[in-house]
């Protein structure tokens, strides 16, 4: 070890002095001196460490000998304990470097190869606005590279940042928040930008999804992770089963289903509430069920509204409120609660979305404004089974219901198709470690309708995806 260090230093020195010839002699002397100094300082330090190690070893031996003489009295045993403790504290070298306080850092890399029969940029029919419905691109495409930093700030707070570097070379702050550690009484407050605690899938980052793409209902209504800038309060009840209540208020940075909106207003524009109940069923199973509700007003002046059939090609505005309510459940099973060899997971969610307000059709031309009331819903159910270590298969069914859309006089300008999008998905993934995943997925996509004929456009989609996790990857939620 010592020799390697010295050799490395000499080598580094040799490399740096391959410069101009004139100053060489003086430089060489200086370098020789430096090396000599380095060598003696290293040797001194190593001697100190070796002495420390010897001292620690001998007291460990002493402690072992002492504990072997176990017939000794309890008082004597305590002395031994003190000795062994001394050994421990001696052999622990305190961290000297500032890097010891660096946040835990992890990086997610992911990419997809997608094959579609039809153009994936065509939106699903009958659900508007549905801003978040962009699927992985055709051909090879890089997904978002996620950078995650987290650390305790002090004894009272913990801070986290999750930034996504997109394949379009932009950086998005997905989450950046501080969370309390010391409130106690089951209370936690989170402030900043964060994924809402609504439902089950909403707060799960893309790299932890069980399928390449999010569920249709998640995409159409919350697309694909609804987050806000605001404050979240959570409370866990003091019970042997998990009963958690959460409330969030925020600026309404995103209008769910539309994406980012430009708000210039005081106060909170968005409120979310959720409750979760969970526990174990024997040692093999565990469950969590939840209910959630989100209400939000549009920004002053309304939000852009892509029409239901994607046909009119004009700019529309919606002003009013949106309410989303949902229920979710997840059940996990593993033999004896040991997921290593086999495990099973089932998850399902149902959401309903209501629009209530005014729709201005073709703001640049006709500017026909009338009331809009819409109630649409959707659900998915998915099951994933790990049948041998590292290999999982999964299936998912998605369905959206067009529900009722009352356009009033705007019915003359817009059509709300009576069409329920559906999708079947099958996936197989290989997880050689907790840090890597390669996945193959097939979708039978029935989310689009030929408006002219009323026929469903069936699409076969195939994806090959990798997800890699580098660094200190933290725990995943249930």
């Amino acid at each position: 070890m010592r020799h390697t260090l010295i050799a490395a230093t000499v080598f580094a020195a040799a490399c740096t002095c391959a410069g101009p010839a004139t100053a060489q002699t003086a430089e060489l002397d200086q370098i020789r001196k430096d090396i000599q100094e380095l060598r003696s300082s290293y040797e001194a330090r190593i001697r100190v460490l070796e002495d420390k190690l010897k001292a620690a070893e001998s007291s460990v031996v002493k402690a072992q000998e002492a504990s072997a003489r176990a017939e000794a009295s309890a008082a004597k045993a305590e002395t031994t304990a003190a000795q062994s403790n001394a050994a421990v504290s001696q052999s622990e070298v305190p961290p000297t470097s500032q890097t010891a306080f660096n946040p835990a850092l992890s990086l997610i890399l992911n990419g997809t190869w997608g094959r579609y029969g039809n153009d994936p940029t065509t939106r699903m029919t009958g659900f508007a606005p549905s801003g978040g419905d962009v699927s992985p691109a055709r051909g090879a495409s890089l997904g978002e590279s996620e950078l995650f930093l987290t650390s305790s700030i002090d004894p009272y707070f913990r801070g986290s940042l999750l930034a996504a570097i997109t394949s379009e070379n932009t950086v998005e702050v997905e989450e950046a928040y501080a969370e309390t550690l010391a409130l106690g009484q089951g209370l936690t407050v989170k402030a900043g930008r964060f994924f809402s605690g609504l439902g089950y899938l909403n707060s799960v980052h893309a790299h932890a999804w069980d399928f390449v793409d999010p569920a249709l209902v998640q995409r159409a209504f919350l697309g694909p992770n609804y987050g806000d800038d605001g404050v979240q309060l959570r409370w866990v009840a003091p019970l042997p089963v998990l009963l958690q209540f959460g409330a969030e208020i925020g600026r309404g940075r995103e209008f769910p289903g539309v994406g980012d909106v430009n708000r210039n207003q005081n106060g909170a524009a968005s409120r979310a509430f959720f409750v979760k109940l969970g526990g174990d069923i024997g040692t093999s199973g565990s469950y969590q069920i939840g209910a959630s509700h989100l209400r939000q007003h549009t920004a002053p002046g309304g939000v852009a509204f892509l029409d239901y059939d994607d046909q009119s090609g004009v700019t529309n505005l919606f002003s009013g409120r949106q309410r989303i309510s949902g229920v979710d459940m997840v059940y996990k099973w593993a033999p004896d609660g040991n997921p290593q060899y086999r495990n099973f997971k089932f998850a399902a969610e149902w959401y309903q979305r209501k629009y209530d307000g005014d729709l201005a059709f073709d703001t640049a031309g006709l500017a026909a404004t009338d009331a809009l009331a819409a109630r649409q819903s959707g659900w998915y159910a998915q099951a994933v089974y790990q049948f041998v270590p590292y290999w999982r298969v999964g299936g998912r069914y998605d369905r959206l219901r067009h529900g009722t859309v009352a356009l009033n006089s705007n019915a003359a300008n817009l059509v709300a198709p009576a069409f329920d999008p559906q999708r079947y998905s099958l996936m197989l993934d290989w997880n050689p470690s907790e840090f890597s995943r390669v996945r193959l997925q097939y979708n039978r996509d029935l989310t689009r309708q030929d408006i002219a004929t009323g026929a469903t456009i069936a699409d076969n989609q195939l994806f090959l995806q990798y997800v890699f996790s580098l660094g200190a990857h933290g725990a995943h939620q249930f």
Partner: protein, 302 residues
């Protein structure tokens, strides 16, 4: 079936006894710490044990029930050294319990106060699931348990000062019995000295260290990576140059790889309880050692 009935009855009786007197709530990450808390706090503590000996503590999920139990805990006792890193940090941040945050007396990681073996000189994920702070399976180190018991008692006293006399008495009693037992195990396991073993994962390194046994290899090609046929074939080859006498797996590991190898190299393959509750005999920390050493002796007909 009979075992589980007994366990159920025992647990119910224990629960009733505990509820009658319990003053502090303890969340133990694994059964060995639950057992240690029972030794050191007796009826003063009501203990919830988060995992069983049939589960791999590396791979537990942050289940809702764990968050609920951590919410009311006065003291969390875990192994540390990153063993529970996949779930405990999340359980603790979700629980909203200030008493169990880092730096509080209510958060105790036993590995932080004991010497650890197999501390890697370099860490890289290419080497598998390595623990930068050394082997975390410290429950099989008699000295480690003893040191953990002392620090645990200090924590108990800080959290529940009213019970100080009882905690001190219990610790003195425990260390006296533990030292005697340690001496007994050293004698009992003396025939195992120098015996060469292969273990599935490095669950028992502290026990081998204590008994002077020599581990030649692991069934896992790298820590946390399931045995591969290539690696097993390599172990069969190595048997000629560096023969082993015993193949050992823990109670939560599949018997298939060790049995496959046992047939090829014609040595016994046995299961040892990964922790308390991993076998019928291992009902507490003391019997965990008794049973584990007995199983090895029996397998080798010593």
């Amino acid at each position: 079936m009979k075992l589980s009935t007994n366990i159920a009855i025992g647990a119910t009786l224990l629960l009733c006894a505990i509820l009658a007197q319990a003053t502090i709530q303890v969340f133990a990450c694994s059964p060995e710490w639950g057992s240690l808390v029972t030794e050191l706090a007796g009826p003063r503590a009501s203990t919830f044990v988060a995992t069983t000996a049939l589960q791999d503590v590396h791979r537990i999920q942050a289940r809702p029930s764990l968050i609920a139990r951590a919410r009311t805990a006065d003291l969390v006792v875990c192994t540390g050294a990153d063993l529970e890193i996949g779930w405990m940090p999340l359980v603790r941040t979700q629980a909203g319990n200030a008493r169990i945050q880092a730096g509080k007396p209510g958060f105790f990681e036993a590995a932080s106060v004991v010497p650890r073996i197999e501390v890697p000189t370099s860490v890289d994920r290419a080497l598998g699931d390595v623990h930068p702070q050394g082997n975390p399976h410290i429950q099989f180190g008699p000295r480690q348990i003893r040191l953990a018991a002392e620090e645990l008692t200090r924590r108990l006293v800080r959290i529940d000062p009213a019970g100080e006399t009882e905690y001190r008495t219990r610790l003195a009693d425990f260390t006296r019995r533990w030292d005697a037992a340690t001496e007994h195990w050293a004698k009992m396991g003396a025939p195992l000295k120098g015996v060469t073993v292969i273990q599935h994962h490095k669950n028992f390194s502290y026990l081998f260290d204590f008994l002077g046994m020599r581990q030649v290899a692991s069934l896992e090609p790298k820590p946390g990576v399931e045995p591969t046929s290539a690696h097993l074939r390599e172990l069969v080859e190595n048997q000629k140059s560096d023969p082993v006498k015993l193949i050992i797996r823990a109670s939560y590991q599949s018997p298939a790889p060790s049995e496959w190898l046992a047939q090829r190299i014609n040595v016994p393959a046995i299961m040892l309880p990964a922790t308390v509750g991993g076998s019928e005999g291992a009902t507490d920390l003391f019997t965990l050692f008794d049973d584990s050493i007995r199983r090895m002796l029996d397998a080798l007909k010593l």
